[in-house]
C-alpha cells in the first residue's frame, strides 16, 4: 500500500520532469507531419541557432525566477551591452575583447537591478521595469537611434554568431556550453543551493545565515551577463548593433522558463526545463513559419501553448 503510493509519487515526479520534454517531442512530431522539411538537417541547425539567444537569456531568468524574482530588463540589457560592444569594435578594439568587456558591463547592469531590489527594497517587477526603460533610453542616447555598423571583418567575431564548428552553429555550441556550466553552478555549488533556498523560503534562508542580499545581487548580475552574451551573438548575427534589439525578449525568456516547469513563485524548477522550454518556443516560431501561418496568428498560437502548458502543470501540482 505504502510502496504503491510511493511508486505513484515517483511516476508523478518523473512525468513532472519529463513533461516539457514530452511536449517538445509532440510539437516536433506535429510540425514534421505537416511539413517534412522541418526535419531537414539545415533547418534543425538553424533552429538551434535561432533558439540560442532566447535560451541564454532564459537561463539567467531561471536563476532570477528561482529566487522568486523577475527580470524585465533583460532585453534592454541586451540592447545596451550590444551597442557598447559594437561601439568598442568600431573604435578599433579587438572584437573578442569587446565582447568580454560588454558581457562584464551586462553583469554590472544586472548588479544595478540586484542592488535596487536588495538595498533599495524594491519589488523586482518594479525595479526591473524601471531599468528596462532606463537601459533602453541609454541605448538610444548612445546610438542616437541609429544602428551601429562597420564592425570590421574579424573572422572570430563572424564565427561567434554566424559560424559553424564541426558543422554545429557556434551560437548553439555557446548555448550548450553555457548550459553545462550553469547546470553545475545550480546543482553542485552552494550558490545554486542558496538560490533555491531563497525562492523556497526567503525567511528560512535568511535565518540559516545565508547572505540573501549578496546571493540576489549575484543572481541578477548573472542574468545581466547572459543577456549581454546573447547580445554579442546578435551583434555578430546582424553584423550591427540595433538600438531596438531585444524588445519584448523578456517575455519569450519568461515563457521559456515557465514552459520548462519552473514555478514563478520560486524555489522549484530545473534549468534543463528552461532549455527545453526555449526549444519549444523556437520550434513554434520556426514551425509556424514553415507551415506558413500568418504572423498575427502565430502570436495567438504561442499564447495558447503557454496557457495549456501552465494548466497541465497546475493539474499535476494539485
Amino acid at each position: 500500500m505504502d510502496s504503491a503510493i510511493k511508486g505513484a509519487k515517483q511516476v508523478g515526479n518523473i512525468t513532472q520532469k519529463l513533461g516539457p520534454f514530452v511536449g517538445l517531442l509532440a510539437l516536433i512530431v506535429v510540425v514534421s507531419i505537416f511539413n517534412s522539411s522541418f526535419l531537414e538537417p539545415l533547418n534543425l541547425l538553424n533552429l538551434l541557432r535561432q533558439v540560442a539567444i532566447n535560451a541564454l537569456i532564459a537561463y539567467g531568468m531561471t536563476f532570477v525566477i528561482l529566487t522568486g524574482g523577475i527580470d524585465l530588463s533583460v532585453g534592454s540589457v541586451l540592447a545596451l551591452s550590444s551597442a557598447l560592444m559594437a561601439g568598442m569594435m568600431v573604435s578599433g578594439l579587438d572584437p573578442i575583447l569587446a565582447i568580454i568587456i560588454g558581457c562584464l558591463l551586462g553583469a554590472v547592469m544586472g548588479a544595478v537591478n540586484g542592488l535596487l531590489i536588495t538595498k533599495g527594497k524594491m519589488a523586482p517587477f518594479i525595479a526591473t521595469l524601471a531599468t528596462m526603460t532606463m537601459f533602453r533610453g541609454l541605448t538610444l542616447v548612445y546610438t542616437d537611434g541609429n544602428p551601429i555598423t562597420g564592425l570590421g571583418d574579424s573572422y572570430a567575431f563572424q564565427l561567434f554568431g554566424r559560424g559553424y564548428f564541426l558543422g554545429i552553429p557556434v551560437p548553439a555550441i555557446t548555448m550548450f556550453l553555457a548550459f553545462a556550466v550553469l547546470w553545475v553552478i545550480l546543482h553542485k555549488t552552494p550558490f545554486g543551493r542558496k538560490t533555491y533556498a531563497i525562492g523556497g523560503n526567503e525567511k528560512a534562508a535568511l535565518i540559516s545565515g545565508i547572505n540573501v542580499s549578496r546571493v540576489k545581487v549575484m543572481v541578477y548580475s548573472l542574468a545581466g551577463l547572459l543577456s549581454a552574451l546573447a547580445g554579442a551573438i546578435l551583434v555578430s548575427r546582424l553584423d550591427s548593433a540595433q538600438p531596438t534589439a531585444g524588445e519584448a525578449y523578456e517575455l519569450d525568456a519568461i515563457a521559456a522558463v515557465v514552459l520548462g516547469g519552473t514555478s514563478l513563485s520560486g524555489g522549484r524548477g530545473l534549468i534543463i526545463g528552461t532549455l527545453i522550454g526555449a526549444l519549444i518556443i523556437g520550434t513554434l516560431n520556426n514551425g509556424l513559419n514553415l507551415l506558413g501561418v500568418s504572423s498575427f496568428f502565430q502570436m495567438v498560437v504561442k499564447g495558447v501553448v503557454i496557457i495549456i502548458a501552465v494548466l497541465i502543470d497546475r493539474k499535476k501540482a494539485a
Binding site: 555598423t149 564565427l159 559560424g163 559553424y164 564541426l166 546582424l238 513559419n289 506558413g292
Partner: protein, 310 residues
Amino acid sequence: MRKLRLLLMMSLVLIFLSACSLQPPEWAKPSSGDGEGDVKVGLSVSTLNNPFFVSMKEGVEQEAEAQGMEVVVVDAQNDAAKQVNDVEDLIQQGVDVLLINPTDSAAISTAVQSANSLGIPVVTLDRSAEKGEVATLVSSDNEKGGEIAGEYIVEQVGEGAKVAELEGVPGASATRERGAGFHNIADEKLDVVAKQTANFDRTEGLTTMENMLQGNPEIEAVFAHNDEMALGAYQAIQSSGRDILVVGFDGNDDAMSSIRDGNLSATVAQQPIEIGKLAVQAGDDVLQGKEVEDTIPVPLKLVTEENVDE
C-alpha cells in the same frame, strides 16, 4: 620537449580552426534543384503594422497570383533579429526567390549572404542591403518624385516664384534624393528663399514653417519632403492667415483627406502596390536568367484635389 609541446599546440589550433566555418556543413545543405512545380516566392516584410507595407505585400500577392506563383509571407514585426530567422525559415521552405523588405539595411546583410551561399536570388524592396549580393532593389523613384513636385509648383505659381523647402532627416536617402529631384527643377525655374530641416516630423514642420514665414513673408509655395512635415507646415500657414501652396510626399491617409478638404494642395504619392508587383516581376526575370537593372525605380503619382478619389 618544449618544441614538441609547441608543435602539439599549434596542430591543435589548426585542427580547431579547420573545424570552424562560416558555411553550413555540406551534409546539412538542402538537396536543391527539384526544379519541378510552381515557382515559390518568399517575402519577408519588415512589418505589417503599417498600411504602406501591407499594400506592398498585397502587390506581391496580386502579381504572383497573376503569374501563377506561390507566395510565402513572413512578418519581422520590425525586429531585425526576427527577420534574419524569418529569412532562414523561408530558405528552408525551398523558396526559389527571396523578396526582402529589410527592417535595417545593415542587419539584413547576413541573411542575404546566407541566401547567396545557397544560390537563392534576392530582390530587396524599399530598402537595400549593405552587404551581400542583391539582384535588384525595387523602390520609389524619389528623385523623379522631387521633379514632379517642382514642376507642379511651377505650373501653379509660375516661374520665378519664391518658395520654401522643408527637408527630411539630414543624410537620409529619401532626403537626398527627393531634394535633388526638386532642385533639378527649382534651381532653374523657382527661387528657393528658405531651406531647413524638420526631420520628417509634423510638429517640427509646424514650428519651422512659422519661423520661415516670419523671415520670408513673400513665400508662395512650400515643398515638404514628406506628408507629415507638409501637414505641420499647413497648420502654420493657416494660423498665419496666408494662402500658400503646400506640396507633400508619400501619399499617406492624413495627407489624402487633407487634399480632399482642399487644404494640402498636392502630394507625390508612392505606390507600394506597384513596388510589390515590380519586385515579383524582377524576381521572375532573374529566375529566367534575364538581365535586370541594379535598381528598379517605381513611378510616383502626383495626387491633387482632382484625382484624390481615384
